[in-house]
């Protein structure tokens, strides 16, 4: 019997294919956006897990206290002294125009808890010429190879990406066959991170043209209780893994996806509710014919399942397609922002599929629960009466108001909780706050609209048609309210996110202008830059050289400056405090103004970046204890500077101090040239004199262009998801209107019969809906501003470590209103056109039935 009941129920959709389409559309978009973001997240997680398994993240690391690069002699000396260290050589190479990371390892000494250390399979083949290139199957896509043909192939290398400072003579010395040009034979290993080629250190040294220098000396966690004399030991635990760094980023994505899911489910709910409404008569007939309520509920449940399977299949398929489109941009963002390497093709574990299906079905059941409830409590004798329903709706509005108040209290509680937390924490609570704010506002909206409509009705008493229009929209409110709530949420989020991105862009570009003070920059290896500095200083066409330097230092816990105390490796950055720089370098906070801060920097104080100030809760005037090569020393913090785009904490000192006291090395040289200097000639002279490429000297404009490009890409996915959410809301509204268009025609037919011109009847819904949407848009503006504030003041601080000023863009607000109006008019237009095309005869028939 249940199948026959199901067939009867489904027959409804043969008469109303539009409702079926709307239902599936809702399920489809909800599940598609959710599964695409989850696919992106799952792929990124997989990449992080593989990177973590590789090494750096879980091994202790040694570096020289004098700041000199590590060499093979360091390795051999430490081994002969009994320290269980293992060398790692890293570099990049270009193959087919793609940059790939080369990791050279010494498998015999690599701690065996490590994936690679343990992978002794064919150890001899790995460590003996022609060696082996181990890579993950997904890296093959970059090389344009298939899995079948790849093993054993030896792809050609375009050029060495960052050959370190050995001289040309050294390089020419040891070429074994042509291994400088080709990779060792490929061998696939699924557990390697993407875009990474792992090979024996001997093969890597030849490919990268490095004789004796090393990138890292690592040792098993805890294998050394103290650092060897002359070396610095950094514990694995103090190095942040890509997973930790990017956690907030993925949380952001998930939040946006969840929003789309909710909006999509609004559509489903509306469609199901409408279908239920129209099938009440059928249901009552079935009950009267003796079908038990339980069978009816089961049949509806079955119907939901059928839709669920269809919707989930559609959603998953298009979600994966969408993820494939978004992934390259996400990967670029993650690598430029966090130096986290993420696979550019999708990797989906089994729990991804299960999770996506579960979310679709769960959402569907949630959206359909109301329908099931009503079917179970069906009153066989009741008649579907709009007025009676209106009374019931009044009760529902009251409940909504109560609910909104309750959620608002929750939101308030969350804000209080946040205010008690130190800055930079509580990403989840912040998202909870935004969700509560959105929900509370959405719940408020129908009672608010209802109230406004009541006032309007009173005011329009003398204008019968307008009075009718208001009363009519009030009658439609129960059905429209869900779509309007979805619209409100989408509009507010859209406004919030676009204001945040816009504000960030302004701040970022401004900051970039201030940071890039020199018109030209030279990038090369430190060993080239050091002699180049003297050479540049001696040239008449160079007005000023502004070298920067890099290094690192261990930050000792404030209360315990002992050798054994807790320590954290912090990056050091050196700048030349010449007026060209100090006049423009952005500072967020100082003790006694900029001039004093710069004077202090030259006199043994340091600046820290905002990320560090937030994470360590430091303000200008505090002191930090640094483990310098001369021992633990306190340094006063003179200022805090903004450092957008940097995921890590950083301390700023003058270049000279960094090189002399902290063993740093020159990282780049900023150049100010005379007005009449021939830049081309300078570039040529530099290339001729030093072993650097012509690209070593970069124009400031070029750097800005690159930085801006990276910035734009960072927010591509945010924008894309944002736009899609608004699209979904528009669809929800359109679906609702289409679904009830037929019924509306019947009501309008009576008006037409009373003598209202058809033209007026056609435009009436446009005014009704336009007004409603405009009102929703107005409510969305303060809500959007609240969201912007939460994003810039709380979520960004926690996610990236920087706080942005709150910018409001009137144009964005206007766009929001126009969008609301546009969406509503577009949604209302189709039913209106249908109405316009309906023949008077058909209209009369509608009235008759």
């Amino acid at each position: 019997m249940i199948l026959r009941v199901l067939a009867t129920l489904l027959a409804h959709y043969r008469r109303h294919p539009g409702q079926l389409a709307m239902l599936l559309l809702g399920l489809w978009v909800a599940s598609a956006l959710w599964s695409s973001v989850q696919a992106v997240n799952a792929t990124a997680k997989d990449s992080y897990a593989r990177a973590n398994a590789l090494f750096s993240a879980n091994l202790d690391e040694l570096s020289r206290r004098d700041g000199q690069p590590l060499t093979r002699e360091d390795y051999l000396r430490l081994r002969r002294e009994g320290f269980p260290v293992s060398p790692i050589l890293e570099g990049t190479l270009e193959i087919d125009g793609e940059r790939l990371t080369i990791v050279g390892i010494e498998p015999l000494t690599l701690p065996s808890s490590n994936t690679l250390g343990a992978s002794g399979a064919a150890l001899t083949a790995f460590i003996t010429p022609p060696w082996q290139t181990r890579l993950a199957p997904d890296t093959l896509d970059l090389l344009g190879l298939s899995r079948q043909q790849a093993p054993g192939m030896t792809p050609a290398v375009d050029s060495a990406g960052d050959r370190a400072g050995d001289s040309a003579e050294d390089r020419a010395g040891d070429s074994i066959e042509d291994s400088g040009q080709r990779l060792p034979p490929l061998a696939l290993r699924t557990d390697l991170p993407p875009n990474t080629l792992v090979m024996d250190i001997a093969a890597a040294a030849l490919l990268l043209d490095r004789d004796n220098t090393l990138s890292q000396l690592v040792t098993a966690p805890g294998a050394l209780s103290t650092a060897p004399e002359g070396y610095r030991l950094t514990r694995a635990a103090t190095l942040a893994s890509p997973e930790q760094l990017t956690e907030s980023f993925h949380l952001n994505l998930t939040a946006l996806a969840l929003l789309s899911l909710v909006v999509g489910l609004f559509i489903v709910q509306a469609a199901l509710g409408l279908a239920m409404e129209q099938r009440l008569t059928t249901l009552r007939t079935l009950r009267a014919l003796g079908v038990p309520a339980a069978t009816l509920v089961m049949a509806i449940l079955l119907e939901l399942l059928v839709f669920g399977v269809l919707g989930a299949a559609l959603g998953l398929a298009s979600g994966i397609w969408l993820a494939g489109q978004l992934l390259p941009d996400v990967a670029t963002t993650l690598s430029s922002l966090y130096q986290a390497d993420v696979n550019r093709s999708l990797v989906l574990p089994w729990h991804y599929w299960v999770g996506s299906l579960a979310i679709t079905f769960g959402g569907l059941l949630l959206a359909g629960s109301g329908v099931l409830w009503r079917a179970a409590r069906l009153n066989v004798l009741a008649l579907g009466q709009s007025q009676a329903w209106r009374l019931a709706y009044q009760r529902q509005l009251n409940r909504m108001t109560l609910g909104a108040a309750a959620v608002a209290v929750l939101a308030l509680g969350l804000v209080l909780w946040l205010s008690l937390l130190p800055p930079g924490q509580g990403v989840l609570i912040s998202f909870g706050f935004v969700a509560a704010l959105l929900l509370s506002s959405a719940l408020c909206l129908p009672p608010l609209i209802n109230g406004v409509l009541h006032l309007l009705q009173r005011w329009l008493r003398r204008h019968p048609l307008a009075h009718w229009a208001v009363a009519d929209i009030q009658l439609q409110l129960p059905r429209l309210s869900l779509a309007m709530m979805a619209l409100l949420i989408a509009l507010a989020t859209n406004l919030g996110v676009s204001s945040m991105v816009g504000g960030f862009r302004l701040t970022f570009l401004d900051w970039l202008d201030q940071r890039l003070a020199a018109p030209l920059y030279v990038n090369a290896s430190p060993s080239t830059l050091a002699p180049m500095l003297d050479w540049l200083d001696a040239r008449p066409d160079v007005a000023e050289t502004l070298p920067t330097a890099r290094g690192s230092v261990d930050l000792l816990a404030m209360d315990d400056a002992q050798e054994q105390g807790t320590r954290k490796r912090i990056a050091l950055f050196g700048i030349t405090p010449a007026p060209t720089i100090t006049d423009r370098w952005p500072l967020l906070d100082t003790t006694e103004g900029r001039p004093t801060a710069w004077a202090a920097l030259s006199a043994n104080s340091v600046f820290i970046n905002e990320q560090m100030a937030v994470a360590q809760q430091l303000v200008p005037g505090d002191a930090v204890t640094l483990d310098t090569p001369q021992g633990a020393r306190p340094f006063e913090i003179a200022a805090v500077y903004p450092d957008y785009g940097n995921p890590r904490q950083q301390i700023l000192v003058p270049t000279e101090v960094l090189i002399q006291r902290f063993g740093g090395e020159v990282a780049s040289i900023g150049l100010v040239v005379n007005d009449r200097a021939d830049r081309q000639a300078l570039r040529q002279a530099m290339t001729d004199r030093f072993d650097v490429s012509t690209e070593a000297m970069v124009d400031q404009q070029e750097i800005k262009r690159l930085a801006t490009q990276i910035f734009e890409r960072t927010f591509t996915i945010t924008r894309a998801l944002n736009g899609l959410t608004l699209g979904v809301a528009a669809l929800a509204l359109l679906a609702t209107l289409l679904a009830q268009a037929r019924e509306r025609r019947r009501q309008l037919a009576s008006l037409w019969a009373l003598g209202v011109p058809r033209k007026t009847l056609t435009f009436l819904p446009l005014f009704q809906l336009g007004g409603l949407a405009l009102f929703t848009g107005v409510v969305a503006i303060p809500l959007g501003i609240a969201i912007t504030w939460t994003l810039v003041a709380i979520i960004n601080v926690a996610a990236f470590g920087w706080r942005l000023p709150l910018y409001l863009f009137p144009w964005d607000i206007l766009i929001t209103l126009i969008t609301a109006l546009g969406v509503a008019l577009a949604a209302a237009a189709l039913p209106s056109i249908q109405l316009w095309r309906t023949s008077p005869q058909a209209m009369l028939n509608q009235g008759a039935t």
């Binding site: 051999l76 010494e106 002794g120 074994i176 001997a202 490095r210």
Partner: protein, 378 residues
């Protein structure tokens, strides 16, 4: 006995090492235990054509595939408690001499491995180290020099002082940090001559003629300090140093061995082994050398030696014979050889059993010596 250890080494180093073996146990044809039966025609072959030559042969022989420096010792600490220890350095060639890579910073043609073991009562600790050769470095991470004699990996070092080449030695090897640290500092001094096994120091290991160059210093007297379980004790006793190199040690049918090196109380030394498989008609290959007090060797024919397991115990989920009957009727020896404790498993990359034993007169149960036993392929 060294040779077993060797196997360990081999394995690890030998290409496929453990993991390689574990990954495709079924694809590979049997190659003897730990790859020791692998064919190695492109390497120099061990034979009896030339006598051993010293000090040259104390150093490494990179043209041969495998080689080791193998020390075992039966000691007593200052509290009278018996203690056994092992230190072995293995070398394995990665490529035949003709195929060595051109010298470059990290290119290697040899892999080195070392094992350190200490046993006292139920306590048994072991450590393992690996290193590659550095073609451009004479004083690399691991190596062995003939004169003055030095054999080392990382900070583990066995060396002879100038002027006392291969007669006096010092050995230092420690592993671990803090309370887990164990190891020893020993002074070793030869009380007798070097002993050559076989004609010109060539010791056949199969009836087909595979074998190794093999000599020993079984007359070592040892003093020193051993750190174990958080305390350091003075020790003294006797030791046995084996030197062996080859390119194909075993036949492909040989799956493991039981190797004895015994110090008898009357001053004689006994080396005996049983290679399982590879003997005549597929039987075991058995060999024994009885070494007199002045270092003269007496070869005992395979039919005049019996080696029989009497009792097995479960160690590391394997049945390991821990009590043996060893009889040499021509020498009038009927011995029971028993492990001091079954817990002497070496959980190294190629795992095996190696530990100190006591030797008793079969009839009287009277203690007549001590020694070391190595068992592989179980």
């Amino acid at each position: 006995m060294n040779y077993f250890r060797l196997s360990t080494a081999l394995v690890a180093m030998a290409c496929a090492t453990l993991i390689g073996c574990q990954e495709s146990p079924s694809d590979a044809a049997p190659q003897g235990f730990a790859g020791l039966g692998e064919n190695a025609e492109e390497f120099a072959q061990a034979d009896a054509s030339t006598p051993l030559s010293f000090p040259r042969d104390h150093g490494s022989h990179p043209d041969y595939r495998i080689e080791w420096w193998y020390l075992t010792a039966n000691l007593e600490d200052d509290k009278g408690e018996p203690l056994g220890l092992q230190w072995t350095l293995f070398r394995q060639a990665l490529t035949p001499p003709d195929e060595r890579p051109a010298p470059s910073p990290w290119a290697a043609d040899q892999v080195w491995m070392a094992h350190l073991g200490i046993s006292r009562g139920e306590t048994h600790v072991a450590a393992e180290r690996f290193a590659r050769s550095h073609s451009e470095h004479t004083n690399g991470q691991a190596g062995a020099e003939a004169a003055p004699f030095q054999a080392w990996i990382d900070d583990w070092l066995l060396e002879s002082p100038p002027g006392a080449n291969f007669e006096d030695f010092t050995l230092q090897a420690y592993s671990g940090e803090g309370a887990d640290r164990f190891g020893y500092t020993l002074t070793l001094s030869a009380q007798g001559p070097l002993v050559w096994h076989g004609e010109n120091g060539f010791n056949a290991k199969t009836v087909e003629g595979q074998g190794s160059r093999y000599y020993s210093q079984p007359f070592l007297s040892i003093t020193g300090r051993v750190t174990l379980s958080g305390e350091t004790r003075e020790v003294s006793g006797q030791g046995w140093l084996d030197r062996e190199w080859s390119s194909q040690l075993l036949s492909q049918e040989q799956t493991g061995w039981d190797w004895f090196s015994l110090h008898l109380d009357d001053g004689r030394k006994l080396m005996a082994y049983r290679l399982r498989g590879g003997g005549e008609a597929g039987g075991d290959y058995v060999f024994a050398h009885l070494i007199s007090v002045d270092g003269q060797t007496q070869l005992i024919g395979a039919d005049r030696v019996t080696l029989t397991p009497l009792e097995t115990q479960t160690v590391a989920n394997r049945d390991i014979p821990t009590r043996w009957s060893l009889t040499l009727p021509d020498a009038g020896l009927q011995l029971i050889v028993e492990a001091r404790h079954p817990n002497r498993w070496m959980p190294t990359s190629v795992p095996y059993w190696e530990g100190d034993v006591v030797v008793r007169q079969a009839e009287t149960q009277e203690n007549v010596g001590v020694g070391y036993l190595e068992m592989t392929g179980y």
